[in-house]
Amino acid sequence: MNNFKEKAVILSAEEIKRIIYRLTHQILENNSSVGEIALIGIQTRGAYLAKRVQAIVKEIEGVELPLGVLDITLYRDDLTAVDSNPTVKETQLDFDINGKIVVLIDDVLFTGRTIRAALDEIMDFGRPQKVELLVLIDRGHRELPIRADFVGKNIPTSTQETVKVCLEEVDGKDEVVIGEKI
């Protein structure tokens, strides 16, 4: 994003790592039967977060949870964003989600519209037992009745501000910054 003016670093790499560990523990704590859990990350950064959660679960429980990736572009409620041209990325859900406890994972929870789209898409794949939501950042300003079950950090923001999550896998480093559009 070229039109982004950084204001402050909110989370460092170390903090992000700790938060993901905590959130993974919370998932396991919340759901007694690990075998029923499936992880679904929202493209792009949610997918990488989900992958990290999967690795931690493997480390703790020795179980490899099913992992899926959702691209919600085709389920959006607006075909064109104001100033972006979303590229359609692939959805990969190669396991049966019927009866699963789906933990939906995204980087930032904002208006809730992305989650609405993701829920619609998940329902087109089957009937999970339950869907839980995990986000790294909740920045408020919901436009739909959606709330997260697992929140890394609540960050009060103004609507002018933007929260940018950087992850090693895509951005070369782990960091969460708050800034403004210019």
Partner: protein
């Protein structure tokens, strides 16, 4: 299959040809198609992306496979589809193409997919209308979605287009499939050879950047893939045309010819095949043939095209009265 890296935005309301597309635009369509391919593997093979929009298949030439392919692609994107064939339209009553287009536009449709026997018809329609126009074949000019699905299939089979040697065999002169394939393959860095009897080679084709041969063995000798065109013997032609048997003898692909090759070759055909004319049945059904995969890939490619043009037209001619300016984080 290597994942395409598309970095640019699609900003055309229409898809009229391959010639005017940049390499990046072609790659964007292919990358988008890769994502759409997954939708057809779902149990519910439908996404709401273009829900509430309407597509008209306006076909002035009989066509089943292209029309059905567009229809399936459209329905998987939740488009409503209306089919108009020239036999049942006001075309027979003398209405001009532009008038027909404007009448369809007045029905508030969003996309017109047009197949026409005159070259340039899609361009003419696109120029006169605000709705998106997708060329499903105009005269001898271009058939862009066919080339895109051919290239998509090649990429799926062989990994990358750059550096590939592709031969196009058959009636080059009258083939829109040939023209679109030539442009697309050249733009993506393949080398292209065309092979046909002299009377079916159009003027100055080498200036497009292809080589020409009249020998089928030469055309397939070191090719990675061949695209075999349909010979339209039923076409009411004023030009000289080879006889069917003579054509098969000189230009038909047979197992015997393939057996002489040192490597495996991918064989494509836009269909419908004339078995025993363009290729033997054994070849059409054999291990080299990717003909049915082409058909499957056609859906994903056409979904990608419909999605991209609809999205671009929304951008160029916004219909919404509200927007979501706050959605910049994840929209």
């Amino acid at each position: 299959m290597r994942k395409s890296n598309a970095t640019i935005a699609w900003r055309r309301k229409d898809l009229l040809d391959i010639e005017s597309l940049s390499r990046e635009e072609i790659e964007l369509i292919l990358a988008t198609a890769e994502s759409f391919k997954e939708v057809s593997r779902r149990e519910i093979k439908k996404v709401p992306a273009l829900r509430g929009k309407t597509l008209v298949n306006l076909f002035y030439e009989p066509s089943t496979r292209t029309r059905v392919s567009f229809e399936v692609a459209a329905k998987r994107l939740s488009l409503d589809v209306i089919n108009i064939a020239s036999e049942t339209s006001s075309v027979k009553k003398g209405e001009t193409l532009i008038d027909t287009g404007k009448n369809i536009e007045a029905l508030k449709v969003d996309i017109i997919v047009v197949r026409h026997n005159y070259s340039g018809a899609a361009a003419m329609l696109a120029r006169s209308l605000r709705v998106s126009v997708v060329n499903a074949g105009d005269g001898w000019h271009e058939h862009p979605t066919q080339a895109l699905l051919d290239i998509f299939t090649l990429k799926e089979k062989l990994g990358a287009i750059k550096g590939l040697k592709v031969s196009i065999i058959g009636d080059i002169a009258h083939s829109r499939v040939a023209r679109s394939n030539i442009w697309g393959l050249l733009k993506l860095g393949a080398s292209v050879k065309v092979c046909a009897p002299k009377i079916l080679i159009p003027a100055a084709i080498e200036e497009m950047g292809v080589t020409v041969t009249e020998s089928l063995d030469e055309a397939i000798a070191d090719a990675d893939a061949v695209n075999v065109l349909r010979m339209q013997f039923e076409r009411d032609s004023q030009d000289a045309f080879p006889k069917q048997l003579e054509y098969f003898k000189n230009f038909g692909i047979t197992e015997e010819r393939l057996a002489k090759l040192s490597k495996k070759i991918v064989i494509m055909h836009p269909g419908p095949i004339n078995r025993g004319i363009e290729m033997s049945s054994a070849v059409a059904d054999g291990p080299h043939s990717v003909i049915l995969e082409q058909v499957t890939n056609g859906i994903a490619v056409r979904m990608a095209v419909l999605f991209l043009v609809a999205q671009a037209n929304e951008y160029i001619n916004p219909t919404k009265h509200f927007s979501n300016p706050k959605g910049e984080n994840k929209v």
